[in-house]
């Protein structure tokens, strides 16, 4: 399992979900074999279940609504949106449809559907193919937003999303696809002790000091996880500063218990995300944690995120505006300064 790449792990989970329940259908652009979707997450599925895979026109807005219609009528569609940037096209169907039906119809319907989509930059794809737009999803009531990461059990997460009776938006990361899906072994990973919360979309808490007091908690998810691990490692090696990392699985509902428990130990919180900062995931987490952990915090919650603006195409420009390891290290050192 440890040598499987994240993309292949997601593909395996999806394949298992297709095998387990014949109400599961796969829809999306270019999802047919041999291509299997732009990032190959759907590979091998149409060959095996040709009748349950539908290659679609480029009609994202309607596809989101079509998934909703299928789900209400008892099927379990999995919709692949080729790039997360295009989720905006389906935003009306999400906000005024999927978010509404169950509650507005007084619980007469369920929407067991999955919309899965890659987010993130660092591949030079430029302003319209590199964004992390999950921040817009967490403002939508009545949906579940799940962030996959390279240290989650991706196969299990995918299966859980497909088996979920509520609508799940599964956020993946383009760079993650090609990286190994590493998992804690005997509670350890990369020299960190790891605790994993319960439930289908668990949070993982990493500590280099065996969950004793530390300098700060870094709450993060998805494509920013390797940066947080690198930063925490550098902080130990070069500054003897010990941070915990909480890798969130569910962004909505946002179960912050693991973060609050960690902050109890560290007294400080940094939220790191790849999306642009304003009104990002970090804003919601900061707002909640400063309220819930007011007495534990000895410094304000800090946010590390992309600069508010476009994601330029040229790598040198892109690098400069996306969050980085040095920014994380710097934020942690400021927490350390507040500590002493």
């Amino acid at each position: 399992m440890s040598s499987l790449r994240c993309g292949a792990a997601l593909n395996r989970g999806l394949t298992e979900a297709m095998a387990a329940d014949e109400r599961v259908y796969l829809l999306g652009e270019d999802v047919l074999d041999p291509y299997g979707g732009a990032f190959k997450i759907s590979t091998g599925i149409s060959d095996r279940w040709p009748d349950r895979v539908i290659s679609t026109p480029i009609s994202e807005a309607s596809l989101v609504g079509i998934a909703a219609g299928m789900a209400i009528q008892g099927y379990r569609p999995v919709l692949e949106i080729m790039f997360g940037d295009f989720i905006t096209l389906g935003f009306d169907q999400i906000v005024n449809g999927i978010s509404k039906f169950r509650e507005m119809y007084n619980d007469q319907v369920r929407l067991p559907l999955v919309v899965r989509t890659p987010m993130g930059g660092r591949r030079g794809y430029g302003p319209t193919h590199s964004q992390s737009l999950e921040k817009f999803l967490i403002g939508v009531p009545n949906i579940t937003v799940v962030a996959t990461s390279e240290i989650h059990d991706l196969g299990a997460m995918m299966r859980a999303a497909v088996e979920d009776d509520e609508p799940v938006f599964l956020v993946e990361n383009k760079v993650m696809y090609g990286r190994p899906n590493r998992r804690p072994e005997s509670g350890r990973l990369d020299g960190f002790s790891v605790r994993e919360s319960d439930g289908p979309y668990p949070a993982l808490t990493l500590s280099a000091s065996g969950f004793s007091a530390g300098t700060a908690t870094i709450a993060t998810y998805g494509g920013t996880v390797p940066l947080a691990i690198d930063a925490a490692t550098e902080l130990i090696m070069e500054h003897e500063v010990f941070c915990e990392i909480v890798v969130l699985g569910s962004l909505l509902p946002l179960d912050l218990d693991p973060v609050l428990e960690s902050v109890e130990r560290t007294g400080a919180l940094i939220v790191a995300e790849e999306g642009t900062m304003t009104a990002g995931i970090g804003a919601e987490i900061a707002a909640r944690v400063q309220e819930a952990a007011w007495d534990d915090l000895r410094a304000p919650v800090r946010r590390v995120a992309a600069a508010d603006g476009i994601i330029p195409s040229a790598p040198g420009l892109e690098d400069a505006m996306l969050p980085s390891v040095p920014e994380l290290v710097d934020a942690a050192l400021r927490c350390e300064a507040a500590r002493v």
């Binding site: 259908y25 539908i54 679609t56 026109p57 009609s59 807005a61 309607s62 596809l63 989101v64 609504g65 079509i66 998934a67 909703a68 219609g69 299928m70 789900a71 209400i72 009528q73 008892g74 099927y75 569609p77 009306d92 169907q93 005024n96 449809g97 509404k100 039906f101 509650e103 507005m104 119809y105 007084n106 007469q108 319907v109």
Partner: protein, 300 residues
């Protein structure tokens, strides 16, 4: 395909819808209701004629803001609708949805123009997979032809052989906007360009609606999506509010609408009898709705 309806049956069904909605408007004008409502007064034949071919349990109906007629024709639950508009616990959606957000037994509405067409298409895809011969019928207005989702779905409905009937109720206006300044070219040709069968007819001819819908639905059920364009007219304001149309234009249509046509075909005694029956059924419906408690929530 259901047999043609007798004039008495047309009259009874259309009149009930008409009186139901007139009652709503009266209640609004008396301040008994809040929010908004869109009546299909003048367009009742569309609901009755198309939906007579559909069966709850087998078929699905998806509708828009102007949905009361469709709801009553499909579900036979007018008191649930009445209670819903009145914000009562016993309403179709317990007061959560209100006039334009209904759900019952395969009947669904939503209030954003066009957004229901993808929903209906997904439901049609489900019906296709289930293979039970069910059809999905979605009602949209002429103005809603402005929404791109309609064409995205026509394309997919044709490609995927969806059992989908799109009924365009062209009542000549979208809110205040006449169809001429909002819809270019030909409505049925828009469907045909996607390889979809399209029929256009005059909605004042109720039996023609019934016959065309029956015929189209029998091929729809086999996976040939279709579009039925009904040229009709709304006799009242868009919602409760003001109406900027020429009163003479409205008055002329009032004399020739499908209900007026059918009414003239009845013997006076029969007409009186049905009218009395409708009033009594409507009174029951209102009483049932009013007996249900007002929906209230606990503070957030």
């Amino acid at each position: 395909m259901s047999a043609p309806l007798a004039a008495t049956e047309w009259f009874r069904r259309m009149l009930f819808i008409r009186r139901f909605e007139e009652t709503l408007l009266e209640m609004f004008s008396k301040g008994l209701l809040v929010g908004t409502t869109h009546t299909c007064i003048g367009q009742e034949a569309d609901a009755v004629g198309v939906i007579d071919h559909l069966e709850p349990g087998r078929d699905v109906v998806v509708s828009n803001h102007r949905c009361h007629g469709h709801y009553i024709a499909f579900t036979d639950d007018p008191s649930g609708l009445m209670a819903e508009v009145m914000g009562r616990v016993g309403g179709t959606c317990a007061g959560r949805g209100g006039s334009q957000h209904l759900c019952r037994d395969g009947f669904y509405t939503n209030g954003v123009q066009g957004s229901i067409v993808p929903l209906a298409s997904g439901m049609a895809l489900a019906e296709r997979e289930r293979g039970g011969g069910g059809a999905v019928t979605v009602f949209i207005g002429d103005g809603t032809l402005g929404q791109g989702a309609v064409y995205e779905c026509m394309n997919m409905a044709a490609l995927w052989s969806l059992p989908l009937l799109i009924v365009v109720e062209n009542n000549q206006y979208a809110q205040t906007t006449p169809v001429e300044i909002a819809v270019a070219g030909s409505i049925p040709d828009r469907a045909r360009a996607f390889g979809i069968t399209a029929v256009e007819l005059d909605g004042r001819d109720a039996p023609a609606i019934h016959a065309a819908a029956g015929e189209l639905l029998s091929t729809v059920r086999t996976g040939a999506p279709a579009v039925l364009v009904i040229d009709t007219y709304r006799l009242r304001a868009h919602s409760k509010g003001d109406d900027v149309r020429d009163p003479a234009e409205v008055a002329a249509r009032e004399r020739t609408d499908a209900l007026a046509v059918v009414s003239q075909q009845l013997e006076p005694a029969e007409r009186e009898r049905i009218m009395a029956e409708v009033e009594s059924a409507l009174a029951d419906c209102v009483a049932t709705a009013e007996a249900s408690p007002i929906a209230v929530g606990s503070a957030a």
